[in-house]
Symmetry: C2
Subunit: 221 residues, 2 copies
């Protein structure tokens, strides 16, 4: 296995910044850039060069003094740290508009995650084709997971169903939850990882910024 | 205007935590709780009580020693800081699956933001009703914004159209962008606030956690 140095001491903050490196490096590769200094990368990403060096040093550092980073090498390293080479699989539970948006989104493929099944309880959706996958009846999930090893469940079910659905899935061996149900899940009785997504939080941050700027305008008037 | 003490020195980290307080306090109100200690709140939110006291002190502190927080008062204060009482309005640009999911989501209403218009360029969508609002032709956006003061644009347009669309909207007076296009917008020539959303980032964090736990399992085996 690929053991990264000091991987235990890496802070959550650094981990949360890595996907951003992943995206920028991907863009660089696509535009044909093969080498970049921390200064250039910092200008593009709008963070300080020392922050970049510090972040990447957590993983052993990938740059050479006065030479910069090999973009491909760095991208591959960060991809590996982020698990994109593990062949993880996912099912989406709840094929409403958000479920459909996610099922059709290339974000899974870009991150090495394969969608193997879509599930819903509504007869109107079951049997339809979304992003190349046929939607199955949620009542068949247990059978499906027995014969298809699946790592991740994407939950876009209504809030009041989230806990029951998640517990059932955890019992069937799902190990990771990407949870859009707006119900904060913890599932402490299971050994699972959970990302609780609250889309509205960033709308509030935006409103805060607008309100602050309105107040400042009013103060100077 | 409601000026909050020390509002200038409040860190981004604290601001980013406030929506979470907003959500938890909302839940407390709904379950009939009117008073809560920082200890109880910290257990529910899974952060330390001292973190909570510190965060809320940034805004002048709302608790009384040995008495706890008045939930309604605290909720109203935090709501006000987050601008939910400003009557902000929003348009959604791009009514695909994600646009539809957002238009139908109560998250706007809960945060005091009114959706006043939905826009798309596809004849298949224009004229249809989504969440009670009729989808308009994007070519009419300029006219619309002239007669309907609008604060926020929610962008769910394809990546390659995001910059042009956003610049046009900024010229028409939009001040805030909630950007789901996966194109990192900066719009430095305009005085606007932007939240660039990258849904895939949290999927990567989840995959990182899974990969780490796999490695640990393999180490001990």
């Amino acid at each position: 296995m690929n053991q990264e140095p000091n991987s235990k001491q890496i802070s959550t903050a650094v981990i949360r910044r890595l996907p951003r490196y992943f995206r920028y490096l991907r863009e660089l590769i696509r535009s044909g850039v093969s080498r970049i200094s921390s200064k250039e990368l910092s200008e593009r990403m709008n963070v300080t060069a020392s922050q970049i060096r510090q972040d990447l040093n957590c993983f052993g550092g990938f740059g050479q003094q006065g030479y910069g980073y090999n973009v491909n090498h760095l991208y591959n390293k960060i991809s590996a740290i982020l698990g994109t080479d593990r062949g993880y699989t996912a099912v989406i539970i709840g094929i409403g508009n958000l479920g459909k948006a996610l099922a059709n989104n290339p974000l899974f493929e870009k991150r090495g995650v394969t969608i193997t099944g879509l599930f819903d309880i509504s007869p109107e959706v079951i049997g339809s084709n979304v992003g190349g996958v046929t939607v199955s009846d949620f009542s068949e999930i247990e059978e499906f997971l027995k014969s298809n090893k699946t790592d991740i469940a994407v939950l876009t079910v209504p809030k009041n169903q989230a806990k029951d659905v998640a517990e059932k899935l955890a019992e069937c061996g799902i190990r990771g939850f990407w949870n859009f149900s707006n119900m904060e899940l913890s599932l402490k009785e299971f050994n699972v990882k959970i990302e609780n997504i609250h889309l509205g939080d960033t709308l509030m941050t935006l409103c805060y910024e607008l309100a602050k700027s309105d107040d400042e305008k009013n103060k100077t008037m």
